[in-house]
Symmetry: C2
Subunit: 136 residues, 2 copies
DNA sequence: TTCGTTGTTTATAATTATTCTAAAGAAGAT
DNA sequence: ATCTTCTTTAGAATAATTATAAACAACGAA
């Protein structure tokens, strides 16, 4: 359970003004034990439910992008009509339950080291992500 | 270089009527040496260029989905505003050049075997795909 | 070959996620 | 308090995709 002051501090340190909207979004995103996988619409609805205050959809988009740019959120590459984000910004992989449309974390040690044996001249590797699709 | 008759045969065997639109799309998609990574809009433009005949955008969508459902095309999981498809339907992985927005095949042996050490009760693994993002 | 059936194409409208715009409001600095 | 800069917001715009429904083409049976 993080305090509101911690979020204000974090926002200030990132040169993001600590507005009440951003603080509410922080509470919903970062006040949890487990990693959180979400879409913008998930988050939009949760904010109302958990804080009682409404934040405009535009602000949710703005804030998620700001946090993503600052490295506080990770974008998960799957094909869906909506973009998925993750509060776990460490290198890790995912299960995607196609039926439930739910992401599940895979620890790096659950996958093992991945050695890419090919390289493209002039390019360097930015990320290596494994997506394991699950069916019933 | 496959003949038009081969495509007609393939379509018939898939209970898809061999219309001239579908045959044209087959020529563009499958008459090539290397694997082909594309978006709907790539394909739509190529059809005009390569066959001289225009196919409606709706038909391009319909046909790509039909081919995908039949297993002749693979959908590549990346976050982009457009969906990417692949004529190489075997299990394999990808580089994604973020700047150029281009996919590049990674052979299975360029990645090595991936052992998933975790399982979810009641679910089985449908696919395991590695996406390697490239930057300059 | 003709006819009836069913599948396909197409233009166009609808849907939906996301981004843009510009005005009002809030935060920070002086 | 005042000024500046950043942020929020409603609503409009954009763009990929999907739905609709009428015209059309392929097929199989007569
Ligand atoms: Mn995760
Ligand atoms: Mn490929
Ligand atoms: Zn982002
Ligand atoms: Zn598809």
């Amino acid at each position: 359970m993080k305090s509101k002051e911690e979020f204000i501090e974090k926002l200030r340190n990132s040169s993001l003004r600590p507005t009440k909207q951003r603080i509410n979004i922080c509470e919903v995103l970062f006040n949890r034990d487990k990693t959180f996988h979400f879409t913008i619409s998930d988050l939009f609805n949760l904010i109302k439910d958990k804080t009682g205050e409404k934040v405009s959809l535009a602000t949710v988009y703005n804030t998620v992008h700001a946090f993503h740019k600052k490295g506080y959120l990770k974008e998960i590459p799957i094909n869906s009509n909506q973009t998925y984000f993750d509060t776990n910004v460490t290198d890790h992989h995912h299960f995607f339950d196609v039926k439930e449309e739910k992401l599940i974390d895979l620890k790096n040690e659950d996958v093992g080291p991945i050695e890419i044996q090919k390289s493209i001249p002039g390019k360097k590797i930015k990320s290596v992500e494994v997506l394991v699709k699950l069916e019933d």
